[in-house]
């Protein structure tokens, strides 16, 4: 059943276009669950590794394996979000590709660094340190370098300052970590994960819940 069409003036048409574009923008709020999960997980992994070095003990498994396990809840969150989503924006599509690309890059980086560690086993640098230990000093800066990129781009794309600052912080910590010992590198990694992902994630989740509440009130 159709309703009679209202004749629009030029001004009304432009106002309607602006109103609908704003409505589409307002509909897009991301949950911060993934950012919170990855921020706390990376911080915990770095701090546990730091405690292993500080107190000279080893867990029966590599704590960083938890990052592979975390892929399972991440897939669950992504499927759940996709099911809930009534609209897909260009930003959503861009962000999905960006973070998927980041995940693949991190996986390859882990693979490359492990291969490098195996290849350098037994070598010593001019100072007499084993090459593996020397290389270990530069692992955190490499990962911090990578963490900064998608975080900064996401922040700029979403106009979300906590993530812009978080991305920049990762790069600053990357530079510092080049010149600091491994224990400090791990602290810097935990610090970066908290400020680049965990805190922005908490803010995003809060905004998402507020937006959901406002929508529920508006629909009453």
């Amino acid at each position: 059943m159709t309703q009679p069409e209202k004749q629009l003036t030029e001004k009304e048409s432009l106002d309607l276009i602006a109103k609908m574009i704003n409505k589409a923008k307002d509909a897009c709020h991301d949950t911060g669950i993934s950012a919170m999960m990855w921020g706390s997980l990376i911080a915990i992994c770095a701090l546990v590794r730091l405690s292993e070095l500080q107190f000279d003990y080893r867990l029966p498994f590599d704590i960083y394996l938890l990052t592979f396990v975390a892929v399972i809840p991440q897939i669950y969150f992504s499927i759940k979000a996709k099911k809930k989503r009534k609209v897909k924006t260009y930003d959503d599509a861009f962000m999905d590709s960006l973070w998927m690309g980041f995940g693949i890059t991190i996986f390859l980086m882990i693979f490359i660094t492990n291969a490098l560690f195996n290849a350098m086993e037994g070598y010593k640098d001019p100072a007499g340190h084993t090459a593996v230990i020397t290389m270990y000093e530069f692992i955190s800066p490499l990962f911090l370098l990578l963490y900064g990129m998608p975080t900064f781009v996401t922040g700029v794309s979403m106009k979300f300052k906590p993530m812009i600052f978080g991305g920049i912080l990762c790069w600053v910590c990357c530079l510092i970590a080049i010149y600091t010992p491994v224990k400090v590198d791990l602290l810097l990694t935990a610090f970066s994960a908290v400020f680049a992902w965990l805190i922005p994630g908490i803010i995003m989740e809060k905004d998402y819940r507020n937006a959901k509440l406002e929508l529920a009130v508006a629909n009453v």
């Binding site: 059943m1 159709t2 629009l8 432009l14 309607l16 609908m20 099911k83 009534k86 897909k88």
Partner: protein
């Protein structure tokens, strides 16, 4: 006065639908209905007109055993929308 304005777009509901779809990659029928405050019947008719004009693509899927209609603007739709907005602006002396 409006002789240069595209008659397909120069209708309140169809213009509202196109303005929503120009801002997003794709949107479900229910989302469009909520945002345009329209009835399902009227919206279906207007969406069909936009589809017939080649301005939007409509795909029908199933989500949790319920039918799901997803709409997406086409390249032709984007071009027509841009021409329409350009014409509106020229009428208002903004260009």
């Amino acid at each position: 006065m409006f002789k240069d304005l595209d008659p397909i777009l120069h209708s309140q509901l169809r213009l509202a639908v196109m303005s929503l779809l120009i801002s997003v990659k794709e949107a479900e029928f229910t989302f469009i209905r909520e945002k345009t405050n329209s009835t399902a019947g009227n919206l279906s008719v207007q969406i069909q007109k936009l589809k017939d004009a080649g301005y939007i693509d409509v795909t029908k899927q199933f989500k949790d055993n319920y039918p799901l209609t997803v709409c997406k603007i086409t390249k032709q739709g984007i071009k027509s929308f841009e021409v329409y907005v350009g014409n509106l602006q020229s009428y208002l002396g903004k260009v």
